[in-house]
């Protein structure tokens, strides 16, 4: 019983933290660029504003256009239930498998791409095709990168992977581990639409990937999609931190351990946010045809991580 309550609590925590994470990165970037920037909790105000606004839709949009935001949001929330955010052995663990997580994320991307195509605008179509190009190489890489860890743990269950790494701290400097981390980091940048793959704050449509697909959305639909995008960022950050550096994750369900784990999660998310903000400020956006090359590198790294974990068992 406590387990299920914990799961719901975990999802709620993620929902609460996600917009703050996005706002924090934006604020950091502004400061690094010498601006004052909006407060880190600005996205919460944005969400409230959007939820209150009227929805304006194109006449050509079909039921898919209205359906997609709910699917995208639902898949993101579902993934937060399955990923070990604060505790490692969870009741949904049996379902909390690597492949399920990848498929859910891909389901969300799929519907987003369809929603971009649905109104029939050219920018939407362009965004959808670019998104699918990136996803085509990125999704297998996610699977491979985490699979490298799974081989070491003997199971693709995320909770068990975390438990395995916790019980064997020396494995952190394994080449398989580090290669997997790097590969997943690059993929995270691609999947969440961060520089150098995609600029989240651009207003030039020809440079957009993610933003182009949601140009037609407004009101509560846009709120849901933005929230889902923030959740995706949080999920990737927590995958990176909890799978590869799992210290702080609670293995027992006592309030003390949980408290420590929440604090640890916040610290790790903040650290990753700082790294991403620094990266975004330093690096310029890649030209579109160079993105497959970058993703190719991450694919090779993931492949190497799997092979070296496999053979150094």
């Amino acid at each position: 019983m406590t387990g299920y309550l914990l799961e719901i609590g975990q999802a709620l925590l993620a929902l609460l933290l996600a917009p703050g994470l996005v706002g924090f990165i934006r604020w950091l970037k502004a400061r690094l660029q010498g601006r004052r920037g909006a407060k880190p909790w600005q996205p919460y105000y944005d969400l409230r504003k959007l939820l209150g606004k009227e929805v304006v839709m194109s006449k050509n949009a079909s039921w898919l256009f209205r359906f997609a935001p709910y699917v995208i949001f639902a898949t993101a929330v579902a993934v937060t239930l399955l990923v070990p955010l604060v505790a490692a052995p969870l009741p949904f663990d049996a379902v909390g498998d690597l492949l399920v997580v990848v498929y859910l994320l891909l389901l969300g991307t799929f519907f987003l791409a369809l929603a971009g195509l649905d109104p029939g605008t050219s920018f939407g179509g362009m965004g959808a095709s670019r998104e699918v190009t990136v996803a085509a190489i990125a999704e297998p890489t996610i699977a491979l990168a985490i699979f490298g860890l799974a081989v070491g743990a003997g199971s693709t269950n995320l909770g068990r992977i975390v438990a395995q790494t916790l019980s064997n701290p020396g494995a952190v400097i394994n080449p398989g581990h580090l290669l997997g981390f790097t590969a997943l980091f690059i993929v995270m940048i691609a999947e969440t639409g961060r520089l150098p793959v995609d600029n989240p704050s651009t207003h030039l449509e020809l440079t957009m990937i993610h933003e182009a697909m949601i140009l037609e959305y407004s009101g509560r639909y846009l709120a849901l999609i933005e929230w889902a995008a923030a959740l995706k960022l949080l999920i990737f950050f927590s995958l990176l931190s909890n799978l590869f550096l799992p210290w702080g994750v609670a293995t027992t369900l006592t309030p003390g351990a949980l408290g420590v784990s929440v604090v640890a999660l916040v610290v790790k998310l903040a650290a990753l946010a700082v790294i991403v903000a620094l990266l975004e400020t330093r690096i310029a956006k890649l030209r579109l045809f160079r993105v497959p090359e970058l993703l190719g590198v991450s694919f090779v790294l993931a492949l190497l991580s799997v092979t070296s974990s496999f053979l150094l068992r």
């Binding site: 394994n174 080449p175 497959p292 090359e293 590198v297 090779v300 053979l311």
Partner: protein, 221 residues
């Protein structure tokens, strides 16, 4: 295997992986300057691996080898390469024979091939460093692939140097290096080979006005 040995094994495998990754950079980037930097960093990590093997293997000759490697491949050869690049370069690998995305996938496959080929070696060896042997052979294959798939003579030289690094890494991990005199003789040979290649690249530039090896097609039947 005691804890001391495990740390050694992990560090040496880590060093080998990083060396291999710098080699893969040659297949990823386009600018010749990036290749020279990648080679430098790779040689730096390689000399660290030699020093590491010397420390844990209790073989002080390897420290000398590490220092020689450092002097030769981190300072001397990259200096010459940079000079060569300044006088002859200004060209980028715009259209390699195999495009970049495919090259990266081929690199991954080559490393898997190296793992397959070196299984008997890894099973026979009793040294803690045996985990990195497939990575060294993978680096050799990657170096070969760079030479075959790239069009600029300078890239081919760096590919050859990366190949030599792979072989040196193999020697370090397989056998804790070979005898000092021979290792130094090998370095000398590599240096001289490099200098000769450099001289010939200058000749190529002067006679062909470009270092694109596609132009070197005059000699047929």
């Amino acid at each position: 295997m005691n804890g001391h040995d495990t740390l050694f094994a992990q560090l040496s495998t880590l060093g080998a992986s990083v060396t291999l990754l710098f080699g893969v950079v040659l297949l990823w980037r386009r600018s010749l300057g990036a290749y020279i930097e990648a080679f430098r960093w790779q040689s730096l990590v390689l000399s660290a691996v030699f020093a590491l093997v010397g420390y844990y293997g209790h073989d002080h000759e390897l420290y000398i080898v590490a220092v020689a490697l450092l002097a030769l491949k981190v300072f001397i050869i990259p200096w010459y390469l940079k000079r060569l690049y300044q006088r002859v370069g200004g060209e980028r690998e715009a259209q390699p024979y195999v495009n970049i995305a495919t090259s990266l996938i081929v690199a991954g496959l080559l490393v898997m091939l190296a793992y397959a080929i070196t299984r008997p070696l890894v099973m026979v060896s009793k040294l803690p460093t045996r985990g990195g042997i497939p990575l060294a052979v993978g680096l050799i294959f990657v170096g070969l692939f760079v030479i075959v798939s790239r069009r600029k003579a300078l890239t081919q030289i760096v590919g050859f140097l990366v190949l030599e690094n792979g072989i040196a890494l193999l020697a370090a991990l397989c056998t804790y290096g070979i005898h000092l005199i021979i290792e130094l003789g090998v370095f000398l040979d590599v240096l001289m080979g490099f200098l000769v290649m450099q001289v010939i690249v200058y000749h190529i530039r002067n006679t062909f006005e470009s270092i694109d090896v596609e132009q070197l097609n005059q000699l047929k039947h």
